[in-house]
C-alpha cells in the first residue's frame, strides 16, 4: 500500500458512481442476454422446421433395395429364367487386423489369383474403411464351402450372395428371352430420360433383347428402401424404417420348351429358323433360330474374347433368324393364288400350258420352271401341288405388282407382325413405290414375274409366314403373334395373406381380311392339303405316315442369280450361294391347331421338301404326339385313336 500521494476520497460519492456504472453494465448484460435468447428463439421456434429438415437430411439416408426380377416360365410351368444366388467374397478393411496377411491367407486357401488380389488392394484405396470391398466376384460352390469351414480364421472377410439371372436352357431360349446384362451408360441415360432412374437405383442388370427387354417394366418390379441413420462419415448407425421392394411379375409364355427342344434338334447342323404358332390365338409355341448362343454369358459380363468369337462367327449366332427376312420362294404361292381368285384373274378351273419355260412377248428372257420339261396343263390345285412356276409367272404378269403387293400387305408381309420382342425385321414387300424410294428406279415387268414365285426383292420372315398362314387357315381372321400368355403378380393383403394373381394377356383382334367370295379360302387350303396328302405332290414324302392331317407348301429360294440357260448345281456352288429351303405347314386340316414355318439357309442338296419339310414334320410330330386326327372333309385312311397328349389352346 504505497500510493503515490495521499488522496482524500469521498467514499459515498465513489460508491454511488460505481453503483451507477454497475447498473448500466448490468442493463447491458440483460439486453445482451435478451438478444442471445431472441436469436436462439428465432433458430429454435421460427426456423425450427427448416433446421429440423436439414438435421434429418444430414442423418437419414435412403438405401435402395433392388426388387427380385420376375421369373419366366413356359406354357406348362417349366422355369426358363431363374434368379440364382451368386457368391462373392468381400472384405471390410476396418474389421481386419492385418489386411495384407489376411487377404494373402484367404487367397491361398481359395486359390484366388494375384491379379484379383492386386485389383482388391487398388479398389480398397478408394473406399471407406467400413465399406465392403470385393475380393472375388464369383465363388464356386466348392470355394464357398471351403471358406465357410474356415470363416472363423478371417474376421472381416465374408461371403455375400446376390441374385443374378440364370437361364437353365441356355442357348435354347436366348433368342426368345434375350438376357439381362449390366446397366451401361446408355441404359442409364435412357432410364434417366424415362424418369425410371430412381426405381433402378439398386438394380444390377436390365433386359437386353427378347422378352427380357420387351417386358422389362413388368419383370423389374418396384424398388424398396431401407431408411437408415448415418453419421458424418456415412457409416450406418441403425435402420429406422424398411419398405420392402415389390418383386417383378412372373411371366408365363406361350412357348412349349419341349417343342422348342425338338425344333433345335431338327435344325442341328443347319443355319435356319423354325416358328410354330397356334392359329387359334397367335401364341408362339416354338421359335428357334440356329445357331444360337448362351445368354448366361452376358449376365456376368461377357469376356471380349468370347464376344468377338460370337460377333465374328460366319454362322451369325447373334442373329434371330425367326424374325429376319428370307426370299419366300414358292411358300407364298398359295397367297398369290388367293389374290388371283380375289381379283378374278383366275378361277379354280383356269388352266394354262407349262412347257417348262415362260417368255414375255417381245422379250428374249426365258423364265424357267424348276422342272425342265414342264408340267403340261396346269390348274390352280396342280400348280400348288407341283409348285408350278409357269402358272404363277402368268398369274403374276396378269395381276401386276400393285395388286400383288396390296394383297400381300393385307397378309402382313413387309410390315412388323407386332410380336412382343423388339428384334423383328419388317423384311421387304416390294412395290412400285417401294422401288422408287429404295432405288429411285421404275418397276420392270420381269420383276413382277419373279415376285410371282416369291423371288426378286421380296423377303419374308419365318414369323411373317406363320402370321400369314394363320390368317389363311382362319379364313381371314387375323391374330397378333405373341409370346406372353399371362403374368402373375404376388399380392400381399393387409391381413398377411399372400397369393399369386394371374392375369392372362389379352390381345386385341385385328380387323379381319374379307374376300369377295368366301369359298376361295378353301380352294387354296385344299390345294395345300393335297400338296402334303396326295401321292406325288411336292410335300407328300416328308409327311408320309403322319397322323394329324397336315397341309403345307414347299419353297426353294435362289440366293445367287442364275444366268440364262445355266443349270443350278448345288455342289458346284459355294456354300453361301446355295439355295435356301423353305416350308410352311398347318394341321389338322379341319380345325388347325398349329402352323409352322421353316427356313434353312444354303442347303447342300434338294429344296424345301427335302430339307425344310422334315423339320416341320418333327415339330408337328412332337406337338401331336400319339394323337390321330381324321379329317371330316376328306376320306383319309386313318381312323380315330385315343389321344394321349393334348395341347389346349391358350
Amino acid at each position: 500500500m504505497s500510493p503515490r500521494r495521499v488522496v482524500i476520497r469521498n467514499q459515498s460519492a465513489e460508491a454511488n458512481l460505481f453503483a451507477r456504472r454497475t447498473f448500466i453494465a448490468f442493463s447491458v448484460v440483460v439486453l445482451v442476454l435478451l438478444v442471445l435468447f431472441g436469436n436462439v428463439f428465432n433458430l429454435q421456434v421460427e426456423s425450427f422446421e427448416k433446421y429440423q429438415t436439414r438435421s434429418n437430411s444430414n442423418r437419414i439416408k435412403l438405401l435402395p433395395v433392388a426388387p427380385n426380377r420376375g421369373l419366366i416360365y413356359d406354357r406348362n410351368g417349366v422355369l426358363l429364367a431363374d434368379n440364382k444366388p451368386v457368391y462373392s467374397l468381400e472384405v471390410i478393411a476396418e474389421d481386419v487386423d492385418d489386411i495384407k496377411a489376411s487377404v494373402e491367407q484367404v487367397s491361398l486357401l481359395l486359390n484366388i489369383s494375384s491379379e484379383r488380389q492386386a485389383k482388391f488392394f487398388k479398389s480398397m484405396k478408394s473406399k471407406r474403411r467400413f465399406k465392403p470391398v470385393e475380393l472375388h466376384s464369383r465363388l464356386s460352390d466348392q470355394q464357398v464351402a471351403l471358406f465357410s469351414v474356415n470363416q472363423h480364421k478371417f474376421p472381416g472377410v465374408f461371403v455375400n450372395a446376390r441374385l443374378k439371372r440364370y437361364y437353365p436352357f441356355s442357348d435354347l431360349t436366348t433368342h426368345n428371352l434375350g438376357y439381362v446384362a449390366r446397366i451401361n451408360r446408355k441404359d442409364a441415360k435412357k432410364l434417366e430420360q424415362e424418369g425410371k432412374s430412381e426405381n433402378y437405383a439398386a438394380t444390377y442388370g436390365i433386359g437386353r433383347l427378347g422378352i427380357e427387354r420387351y417386358y422389362e417394366d413388368m419383370l423389374h418390379g418396384t424398388i424398396g428402401h431401407q431408411e437408415v441413420e448415418i453419421n458424418n462419415q456415412g457409416r450406418v448407425i441403425r435402420t429406422l424404417n424398411y419398405t420392402p421392394p415389390v418383386p417383378g411379375k412372373d411371366l408365363t409364355l406361350t412357348l412349349d420348351i419341349e417343342l422348342q427342344m425338338i425344333a433345335k434338334r431338327a435344325l442341328s447342323g443347319k443355319r435356319g429358323a423354325v416358328v410354330a404358332m397356334d392359329p387359334r390365338t397367335g401364341g408362339i409355341l416354338a421359335m428357334y433360330s440356329n445357331p444360337s448362343f448362351d445368354g448366361n454369358l452376358f449376365v456376368h459380363g461377357i469376356s471380349s474374347k468370347n464376344y468377338s468369337k460370337l460377333l465374328n462367327s460366319k454362322d451369325l449366332p447373334l442373329i434371330n433368324r425367326s424374325v429376319q427376312g428370307y426370299p419366300p420362294a414358292s411358300t407364298v404361292k398359295p397367297f398369290l393364288a388367293l389374290t388371283g381368285l380375289e381379283e378374278k384373274i383366275i378361277t379354280p378351273d383356269t388352266q394354262i400350258h407349262d412347257p417348262g419355260w415362260y417368255q414375255l412377248e417381245g422379250l428374249p428372257n426365258k423364265y424357267r420352271d424348276w422342272k425342265p420339261w414342264g408340267h403340261g396343263m396346269v390348274n390352280l390345285t396342280k400348280a400348288i401341288e407341283q409348285s408350278c412356276n409357269i402358272y404363277f409367272y402368268d398369274l403374276a404378269f396378269k395381276l401386276g405388282i400393285t395388286k400383288i403387293s396390296n394383297m400381300m400387305e393385307k397378309f402382313g408381309f413387309g410390315d412388323y407382325t407386332g410380336i412382343d420382342i423388339h428384334e423383328e425385321s419388317k423384311a421387304i414387300m416390294p412395290s412400285v413405290a417401294w422401288k422408287r424410294e429404295r432405288y429411285n428406279k421404275s418397276w420392270y415387268t420381269g420383276e413382277t414375274l419373279s415376285v410371282g414365285i416369291g423371288q426378286s426383292y421380296w423377303t419374308v420372315t419365318p414369323l411373317q409366314l406363320t402370321q400369314a398362314l394363320t390368317t389363311l387357315v382362319n379364313h381371314g381372321e387375323r391374330k397378333v403373334p405373341h409370346l406372353l400368355k399371362a403374368n402373375s403378380e404376388l399380392i400381399i393383403e393387409s391381413s398377411g395373406n399372400a397369393y399369386h394373381q394371374i392375369t392372362p394377356t389379352i390381345y386385341e383382334p385385328r380387323a379381319p381380311l374379307k374376300l369377295k367370295d368366301d369359298k376361295n379360302w378353301n380352294v387354296v387350303l385344299e390345294a395345300m392339303h393335297s400338296t402334303v396328302q396326295k401321292f406325288g405332290a411336292t410335300a407328300y414324302k416328308p409327311f408320309k405316315g403322319s397322323t394329324y392331317d397336315a397341309s403345307g407348301k414347299t419353297g426353294s429360294a435362289q440366293v445367287a442369280r442364275i444366268k440364262q440357260d445355266e443349270k443350278y448345281d448345288a455342289k458346284a456352288t459355294s456354300e453361301n450361294q446355295r439355295d435356301n429351303a423353305m416350308f410352311i405347314a398347318f394341321a389338322p386340316f379341319d380345325k388347325p391347331e398349329i402352323v409352322v414355318a421353316v427356313a434353312i439357309e444354303n442347303v447342300a442338296k434338294g429344296g424345301g421338301a427335302t430339307n425344310a419339310a422334315p423339320v416341320a414334320r418333327q415339330v408337328m410330330d412332337q406337338y401331336f404326339g400319339d394323337r390321330v386326327i381324321t379329317s371330316q372333309t376328306h376320306k383319309t385312311k386313318v381312323n380315330s385313336a385315343t389321344p394321349t397328349k393334348h395341347h389346349e389352346a391358350d
Binding site: 460519492a13 460508491a15 448490468f26 436469436n39 436462439v40 433458430l43 438435421s55 441413420e229
Partner: protein, 371 residues
C-alpha cells in the same frame, strides 16, 4: 471502515469463515454439473472424458477455495511485479513458446507447460484496478490513457500468438475496470470512434488469413457449406433442430452422429440447445444471469474502490465469455475460440475462471480490509 454491526455478525457464520459465498457457489456448481452431463453426451458418451472433466472441476474448486482465503489486500500489493512478470512471460512465449494448433500459446518450463495468457486474465484486471484506484474516482483522462496503454501491451502480445479470443477477453477486462471507474462518457464515445477507425487497420495489417476467413464465413456461412462454413452451419442446424423441448439428453442427432464439430469444447452450447431446446437455453441463461447478478452484487457491496473494480471486471468478463461463445455458435458473431464458461470441456480456462471466482469470494468475505 463501513463495517457496521450487522456486517460484523455475518462474518462469523461458518461459510464466512471459510470465505465461501454460498449463492455464488451454488450458481457455479450448477454450471459445472451441467458441464459434466453435456461432456458425457458430446464426448461420445465416454466415461473417461467425464472423469477428466470431473478431475479438472476438483482442481478448479480447490484453487478457488485457496484463492478465496487470500485477503484482497495481497493482490493489490503484488499487482505491479506480477504484471511485469506476466508481460515477460508473454514475450518469452513469442520467442521460445511451444507451437500447438498453429499458435504459440504454451510456455514449457521443463516441469510444467502452461499458458501465460490464461493467468493474464486475472493479472490484467488486478493491475488496472490497482492503477485507477490510486486516485479518487471518477478517473481522470490522463489515468485512462495510461491505463489503456497498460491494457494494450498484453492484449497485443496475446493477439500476436495468435489468440484472438483471449486477447479480446483481456482487453475487455481492462476496459471494464476503466468503465466502472467512471471514465467520462465523452471519453468513451471518443474511444468507440477510435476503435471503429482501428477496424480497417486491424483487418489489413494485424489479422491472419485464417482470422479473416472466419469473419468472411461468419458473414456468409452458406458460401462454403462443406469447408469453412461447415462449423457454423452444422451448429445452427443443431440449435434450430432442438426446437422448444429439445431432442433429449444423449438424443441430439447432430452431436451424437458427429455432424457437429468441436462438440465438447467451443460448440457445447449447440449440443445443449439441440438436446434441451429453448426451455433449456432459457434456464441456462437464467443461471448465467444469476451468477452475473451475484458477482455484481459483491462488487457493489465491496468496501474499497480496488475490490469494487476488480469484482465488477471479473464478473463482466465472465459474461463476455457467455456472450461471445453463444453469439458465435448461434451465428451472431464470427467464430473466435472462446469456450462456454465452466461448461465446455477444457481445464485451463475453467481453472482460471474459478480462480477469478475465488477472488470474488475473497472480496465478499474479507471485510476487515482497510486502505
Amino acid at each position: 471502515m463501513r463495517s457496521s454491526g450487522q456486517d460484523q455478525q455475518k462474518v462469523h457464520t461458518l461459510w464466512q469463515r471459510l470465505h465461501i459465498d454460498i449463492p455464488l457457489l451454488l450458481g457455479l456448481l450448477t454450471l459445472l454439473a451441467l458441464g459434466l452431463f453435456l461432456v458425457y453426451s458430446a464426448g461420445g458418451q465416454e466415461v473417461a472424458v467425464v472423469y477428466r472433466k470431473a478431475r479438472s472441476i476438483g482442481v478448479a474448486l480447490l484453487g478457488m477455495f485457496i484463492v478465496a482465503q487470500i485477503p484482497p489486500l495481497v493482490y493489490r500489493k503484488w499487482a505491479v511485479p506480477v504484471f511485469v512478470l506476466g508481460l515477460l512471460m508473454l514475450v518469452s512465449v513469442l520467442l521460445f513458446g511451444h507451437v500447438g494448433k498453429g499458435a504459440q500459446r504454451w510456455l514449457d518450463l521443463g516441469f510444467i507447460k502452461f499458458q501465460p495468457s490464461e493467468i493474464m486474465k486475472l493479472i490484467v484486471p488486478i493491475m488496472i484496478a490497482w492503477f485507477v484506484s490510486q486516485d479518487s474516482l471518477p478517473v481522470k483522462i490522463s489515468t485512462v490513457v495510461q491505463a489503456f496503454i497498460l491494457v494494450l501491451l498484453p492484449t497485443l502480445l496475446i493477439a500476436k500468438q495468435p489468440d484472438l479470443g483471449t486477447s479480446l477477453l483481456i482487453a475487455s477486462s481492462g476496459i471494464f475496470v476503466i468503465f466502472l471507474a467512471g471514465a467520462s462518457w465523452k471519453l468513451i464515445s471518443a474511444c468507440v470512434g477510435l476503435a471503429s477507425a482501428f477496424v480497417p487497420i486491424l483487418w489489413m495489417f494485424l489479422m491472419k488469413p485464417y482470422q479473416k476467413q472466419r469473419v468472411m464465413t461468419f458473414l456468409n456461412p452458406e458460401q462454403d457449406p462443406l469447408g469453412s462454413g461447415y462449423h457454423i452451419i452444422q451448429s445452427k442446424i443443431a440449435i434450430g433442430s432442438g426446437g422448444i423441448e429439445g431432442k433429449g439428453w444423449l438424443q441430439g442427432t447432430q452431436s451424437q452422429l458427429e455432424f457437429l464439430p468441436e462438440r465438447h469444447t467451443d460448440f457445447i452450447f449447440s449440443v445443449f440447445s439441440e438436446e434441451f431446446g429453448l426451455i433449456g437455453v432459457a434456464a441456462l441463461l437464467a443461471v448465467y444471469l444469476f451468477v452475473v447478478m451475484r458477482g455484481l452484487w459483491i462488487a457493489v457491496n465491496a468496501q474499497h474502490a480496488f475490490t469494487k473494480l476488480l469484482a465488477g471486471s471479473l464478473t463482466l468478463t465472465f459474461f463476455v465469455y457467455v456472450f461471445v461463445n453463444i453469439g458465435m455458435v448461434s451465428g451472431l458473431l464470427p467464430v473466435v475460440g472462446v469456450p462456454l464458461p465452466l461448461v465446455s470441456y477444457g481445464g485451463t480456462s475453467m481453472v482460471t475462471l474459478m480462480l477469478g471466482f475465488g477472488i470474488l469470494m475473497a472480496i465478499s468475505t474479507h471485510r476487515r480490509f482497510h486502505v
